[in-house]
């Protein structure tokens, strides 16, 4: 029996769902371990290279969201950072251990874009508390249907953008593996680098940047 059939009989779940849960468990273990080690460091002690990279990356991310979110950045940044790590790892997981990337399936990408929609609306409610619902009537009240449509279409476009990029890359790699023969051993490392790592990072960046920019649009001017 193949690995897919074994997993399906044991848990009645498709394999990409378990891959997604495995990525989440991996990120949780790594971040709890690093957080515990880094919080015990002295302030003057020089950490070694790996921890320096981690500390600098978290500091860079904090500065990036602080410039967009303003006063409320401490409550919103952990969720956005977790989404970044998950999407980056999930796009690249097509390379390891013969896994299928979870973002190849529309159920996962639509869940991510619905989460992004909830982050945007939560940012609006945090900054404006109930006046956020009247934001639909700004700047002129006849624009009310266009504003509602403009709030809901990023769900579709973000999900389909991520899905389309990852699926097309994975289909090209599948074709090269099937039809290549001995040539595919030479070409596929370069293709893996371009499609899995390159497009995966770019799509992560676009998703997170769009979420942060839309959330920053919903906030009040005084809070920024």
């Amino acid at each position: 029996m193949t690995w897919n059939e074994i997993v399906n009989r044991l848990t009645n779940l498709p394999v990409y769902f378990l891959t997604s849960l495995g990525i989440m468990v991996f990120i949780m273990i790594i971040s709890i371990w690093f957080g515990a080690r880094i919080s015990k460091l002295d302030v003057e002690a020089k950490p070694n290279k790996l921890w320096t990279v981690v500390i600098q990356f978290v500091a860079f991310f904090n500065t990036f969201t602080k410039s967009y979110f303003g006063k409320h950045w401490r409550k919103l940044t952990p969720l956005v950072f977790a989404m970044t790590l998950y999407v980056a790892l999930a796009n690249m997981s097509g390379m390891f251990f013969n896994l299928t990337a979870p973002t190849r399936f529309t159920s996962i990408t639509f869940s991510l874009s619905i989460l992004s929609f909830l982050i945007i609306q939560t940012a609006g409610f945090m900054s404006q508390s109930w006046r956020h619902l009247t934001g639909v009537f700004q700047p002129l009240w006849p624009l009310f249907p266009l504003n509602i449509i403009g709030d809901f279409t990023p769900i579709f476009s973000m999900a389909l953008r991520l899905f389309g990029n990852i699926v097309s890359g994975s289909i090209i790699l599948f074709l090269v593996y099937e039809l290549g023969g001995w040539v595919s051993v030479v070409i596929t490392p370069a293709l893996h680098v371009v499609f899995d790592i390159g497009f995966g990072f770019i799509q992560t960046l676009v998703l997170i940047l769009l979420t942060v920019i839309f959330a920053s649009n919903k906030m009040d001017e005084a809070d920024l």
């Binding site: 389909l160 389309g164 960046l205």
Partner: protein, 93 residues
């Protein structure tokens, strides 16, 4: 010429819908749907040309220009991907 056409065209129009008719037309539609990539390719090439000009004008800002260009191209690629998704749906019928 006219006699040639009057013998050929009734034979072309004699389409018998057997069980492959819907699937064949769906494959044809899938091929036409991917044609939306033409507009995407033209526009993305134009954006890359403008980015190259901007780098030539001010080489020390090339990091920011590259990041902006990549983000703009990833957003502009979305409408080309809509055609690809329609092609996937049609070729699975």
């Amino acid at each position: 010429m006219f006699a040639f056409l009057t013998t050929i065209i009734p034979k072309i129009l004699e389409v018998v819908p057997n069980e492959f008719y819907a699937q064949g037309l769906a494959y044809l539609g899938a091929g036409i749907a991917v044609f939306t990539g033409v507009g995407t390719a033209l526009s993305q090439g134009y954006a890359a040309a403008k980015a190259a000009e901007a780098v030539a004008r001010q080489p020390e800002a090339s990091g920011k220009i590259t990041t902006t260009m990549l983000i703009g191209q990833a957003v502009a690629e979305t409408t080309g991907l809509y055609g690809l998704i329609i092609a996937f749906i049609l070729s699975g019928k």
